[in-house]
């Protein structure tokens, strides 16, 4: 094209010159635009190739999609699973004050005519841990036992070498319980029983618990459930590439029908620890029996289990103004474990005036926050700033390896200052390293004195990717003065340990925001705490009893909608004495005394104490120089109380009672010779339905089983089944090509074009000069 323009330019007519110049400019512009297009096009193309293939066909699930306990079999679609038909589910939940103990027993069947290796998946609530696992596969009984990590591994290796059925569960992902179940024979049933401990959720005077009951997406008719792949660290979100999903979706199960096929029984022993006002189950029909004013027994009405809703139970205290305290105890191995809790006033009017606040927001915009994290942090912080009242004062500090303080000192939160700060926050990008200490110092030390009657709060938004925890803890505990430090954990894998401990030392709370859609709800809860402090300076003493370990230590402040729960270990089986809890509501001192001997019996307190003790030990790791000692301490506590932790694992070993020779192998549906202490009765249950209906539902169950069997990748032998299972359980690989070469290539191309254009231009100028000179000479 340059050649053309050159020929045009060569025409020896002066008046055409501007026209030629225009042409040249146009040509250059076109070339430039084309180049940009080429670059743009390529980057788009690479984005497309990065995407995955169809992964979520209807009827296929991924472990992360699972909304309730499920046994997954590898399917014919690589990387996807199908759910084993669930024959029965029994749930028993004991509520003891703020403690929940849940026992789930489920019975599954391998509907195929081949061998298969399954994965049992159960989505756990936050802060809960499985401590018991019992399984029956065909006619073998397997029980999970807590062992030190190394020892568990040895047992596992030995059992495997001996050709026995075995499984190993180590703590890897905190809130999903997965366990491989090997060697399930044709048509065999599998019973899984797990027990876990968690705590009651509290919010604004309402206590609630939730049991996961959403049957996998395939039963959900309309919404296209978009899921993020199993691997939380890879960050690959796989988009839905199936345009005609509706057409290929599996037969949708009516919830009522589903209830017949997958019968669920659920019983809750609610022992609230305070007089119960109202009890509600918003999504399921239940029968509620009143035991006394503090206790209820709730059970599910049969046949009323919507498949698309988690079971939820909420209860409220009868109205009362004073914080209510409760005391429970449990005796284990000659020691008494106490659980005391203080519930803030159930009445909203109890906190009349909200004091002035002085808030320093600290936001981490280091490189580790890049992507979704910084977006969540910006949103959360903007929300927090917009909630300030004009009489509050605030400041914003941001840090990466540098740091800057937005206002020279605390400023009143007038609308324009708020706007200004929000604009500053919105403009933050994540880059650089993490130097948290100077920012923390700025927030704690350089913001001037606290005005009388005001509350100083430091809100820290970070993913906690730091190395100098000890220094930071030191800074917080030494310089926090009367300020309270609140930490907000951002992103899918924040350093919760650091942030929990930092909040504890700072007498604040830790809020975890895992995804974009949690920002509003979680920040809302935090605002409630920030704006409504209920009780401060809480101290616990035992009078006349020998308390060895009180957790948490130190006691955090008490906020509205949040109880303080303390656990303690006491010597002896029948301790006497008094437990004193003191605190301050505003300027009003408050004190409660409880008689230890009068504590009511509760279950699971020892485990809760142990879990908190382990958390405390882990949290204090920064102060312990010797990692081995710490590990030993944690191991001792975890082993004593049968908990999975960083240093202890559940290893499943065969505990099948030996069958007398000659006795026939019984039907797999009837558990013969259950090991002592095992209770699978509920999932074999009585046949509740009338004969006709039962037959119909059996037909349906059979139909469903056929569907599953059709999609399963069953194998003719056990060995082949384990190979198939391995193939399905794979690691996703990250993108490992940089664009460096591409940049260099395109850059060189651009340079070449520039050189070409420049020389053409030069040539043309030179010719023009010749022409002009020629013309002049002619004129002369």
């Amino acid at each position: 094209m340059f050649v053309d323009t050159e020929i045009g330019a060569a025409t020896p007519r002066r008046q055409y010159t501007p026209y030629v110049e225009y042409l040249l400019v146009a040509a250059l512009v076109v070339v430039t635009i084309m180049l940009f297009f080429v670059m743009g096009f390529f980057s788009e193309a690479s984005a497309e190739t990065g995407q995955g293939r169809p992964q979520h066909f209807a009827g296929y699930v991924h472990p992360n999609d699972v909304g309730t306990g499920a046994l997954l079999f590898p399917s014919k679609e690589p990387g996807s699973f199908v759910e084993a038909p669930r024959l029965a589910t029994d749930v028993q939940i004991d509520v003891n004050g703020p403690i929940l103990r849940t026992r789930v027993t489920q019975r599954f069947r391998n509907p195929s005519k081949g061998w298969v290796e399954g994965t049992y998946v159960f989505p756990l609530p936050e802060n809960s841990g499985v401590d018991t696992l019992k399984m029956q596969i065909g006619d073998r009984f397997i029980e999970g036992q807590i062992k030190a990590r190394e020892e568990a591994r040895k047992v596992y290796e030995e059992a495997k070498a001996a050709g026995k059925k075995t499984a190993l569960l180590e703590q890897q992902r905190p809130n999903i319980f997965t366990n491989q179940v090997a060697n399930i024979g044709p048509g065999e049933t599998v019973i899984v029983q797990i027990e876990y401990q968690s705590s009651v959720h509290q919010s604004g005077g309402e206590f609630s618990l939730r049991f996961p009951m959403v049957v996998a997406p395939r039963y959900n008719p309309d919404p296209i459930v978009q899921t993020v792949d199993l691997d939380p660290s890879s960050g690959y979100a796989v988009s839905d590439p199936v345009p005609d999903r509706d057409k290929i979706s599996a037969p949708v199960l009516d919830p009522a029908e589903n209830a017949k096929i997958n019968p669920v029984t659920l019983t809750i022993n609610l022992n609230a620890g305070f007089p119960i006002g109202t009890v509600a189950t918003p999504f399921h029909a239940t029968d509620v029996q009143t035991v006394d004013d503090m206790a209820r027994v709730i059970s599910l009405k049969s046949g009323s289990v919507p498949a698309d809703k988690d079971f939820e139970l909420s209860w409220r205290a009868a109205a009362g103004r004073a914080p209510y305290a409760g005391l429970f105890r449990e005796t284990v191995d000659g020691k008494t474990y106490l659980l005391g809790f203080v519930t803030p006033p159930a009445d909203e009017a109890a906190t009349e005036t909200t004091p002035k606040r002085e808030v320093v927001f600290v936001i981490d915009n280091s490189g580790s926050m890049a992507g979704k994290s910084i977006e969540q942090a910006r949103d959360s912080l903007a929300l927090a700033i917009s909630r300030l009242r004009p009489e509050d004062r605030f400041n914003v500090v941001r840090f990466d390896d540098t740091m800057s303080v937005h206002f020279p000192s605390l400023v009143p939160a007038t609308p324009d200052k708020r706007e200004d700060a929000i604009a500053f926050v919105r403009g933050l990008t994540a880059d650089g390293g993490t130097e948290m200490l100077p920012a923390l110092e700025a927030a704690l030390r350089t913001q001037g004195p606290i005005e009388p009657g005001a509350l100083r709060q430091v809100v820290f938004l970070t993913d906690g990717a730091i190395g100098n925890e000890a220094q930071l803890f030191d800074e917080i505990s030494k310089n926090r003065g009367n300020a309270r430090v609140f930490t907000v954990g951002i992103g899918s894998a924040p350093n919760t340990h650091f942030m929990t401990k930092a909040a504890e030392l700072g007498r604040g709370t830790f809020t975890l925001i895992g995804s974009e859609d949690q920002v509003a709800a979680r920040m809302g809860e935090l605002f409630n705490k920030l704006e409504n402090p209920a009780m401060t300076d809480i101290a616990v003493t035992f009078d006349g009893a020998n308390a060895q370990d009180i957790t948490p230590n130190p006691m955090p402040d008490l906020y509205r909608g949040e109880p303080v729960v303390l656990t303690a270990q006491l010597d002896g089986t029948s301790p006497a004495g008094k437990l004193q809890i003191t605190g301050k509501t505003g300027d009003q001192p408050w004190r409660v005394e409880m008689d230890v001997a009068k504590a009511s019996q509760g279950n699971g307190i020892a485990k809760l104490w142990a879990r908190r003790k382990i958390d405390d030990l882990e949290a204090n790791a920064y102060a312990v120089n010797d990692a081995a000692t710490l590990d030993r301490e944690i191991e001792t506590v975890a082993l004593t109380h049968h908990l999975v932790s960083r240093v202890t694992s559940l290893v499943a070993v065969d505990v099948t009672p030996s069958r007398p020779a000659g006795e026939p192998v019984a039907s797999t549906d009837v558990p013969l010779n259950l090991p002592e202490g095992w209770d699978f009765e509920k999932v074999f249950g009585k046949k509740m339905l009338p004969e006709g209906q039962r037959k119909a539902s059996l037909d349906q169950a059979e139909e469903q089983a056929m569907l599953v069997a059709d999609r399963m990748a069953a194998a003719p032998t056990a060995r082949a089944a384990s190979l198939i299972a391995e193939a399905g359980n794979q690691v996703n690989l990250p993108q490992t090509a940089t664009l460096a070469d591409r940049y260099i290539l395109i850059g060189l191309m651009l340079l070449a074009v520039a050189v070409m254009a420049a020389s053409t231009f030069g040539l043309w100028r030179w010719q023009m000069r010749g022409l002009i000179l020629e013309a002049r000479s002619r004129v002369q």
Binding site: L24, V25, G433, A465, V731, T736, G747, L751, A752
Partner: protein, 228 residues
């Protein structure tokens, strides 16, 4: 532009251009600057990868010799995990933990959801094909790969087969029996696009080699620090 100055040879060249010509020149210089910037960015990425490895190596060695709290540079916010060496090819690299884009720009990284090398299961180390794992294509079956963990343990792996797979169909099971290592990088090696294919080298722990502390061993073959 230099051409023009050469052609013209005199000062005041710009002054004698009319407006259109100035525009044309400006356009050309814009294209040239964009080109320079892209080339610069490309080389910056490569330089970053090289320089960081030198610094990482230094801090990793300090860590091995028991210096606590070493950081490759003051604002680093990640940890070094191990050193991987391919003695036959004479390449070595410091492995970081957690394969985020950030870490991968600085060195190979062990995927966070796989066990540490030498632990039960399959440890997966990934790195960029155009920087740290450029040498992966030269690893042949039977080659030894030496991994020095941050606790000083020296582990020897023997490379097995290599294969090409999609990123989401790696076939690598982190919990597979045995103590295995998988090295992954992008494939094809010479492409300049980011594609879905990965090149995977499987390696098995050589069990008869005693797992010894680094301190008990004479220093391994002195290898070049440069590792690309």
């Amino acid at each position: 532009m230099s051409n023009k100055q050469m052609l013209d040879g005199r000062g005041g060249f710009l002054a004698r251009l009319n407006m259109l010509e100035t525009l044309v020149l400006a356009g050309i210089s814009l294209v040239a600057i964009a080109g320079l910037m892209l080339v610069g960015k490309g080389f910056y990425m490569k330089a970053k990868a090289e320089v960081s490895q030198v610094l990482l190596k230094r801090s990793f060695e300090a860590q091995l010799h028991g210096v606590p709290n070493v950081k490759p540079w003051p604002w680093a916010d990640f940890s070094t995990e191990a050193e991987i060496t391919a003695p036959r090819i004479g390449k070595t690299a410091i492995v970081l933990s957690g394969a985020s884009g950030e870490a991968l720009a600085l060195g190979p990284a062990r995927l966070a959801n796989t066990p540490a090398p030498g632990e039960l299961g399959t440890s997966v180390i990934a790195a960029h094909r155009d920087t740290h794992f450029r040498w992966l294509k030269d690893v042949k079956p039977g080659d030894l790969l030496v991994v020095t963990r941050k606790d000083g343990t020296n582990l020897t792996f023997r490379a097995g087969s290599s294969r090409i797979a999609r990123w989401d169909e790696s076939g690598i099971n982190a919990d597979a029996p045995g103590r295995n290592l998988a090295l992954a990088t992008c494939w094809p090696f010479d492409a300049t696009e980011q594609g879905p294919l990965r090149y995977i080298v499987q390696a098995e722990l050589v069990s008869d080699a005693p797992q010894s502390k680094l301190s008990a061993l004479p220093r391994p073959v002195q290898l070049p620090v440069k590792s690309f």
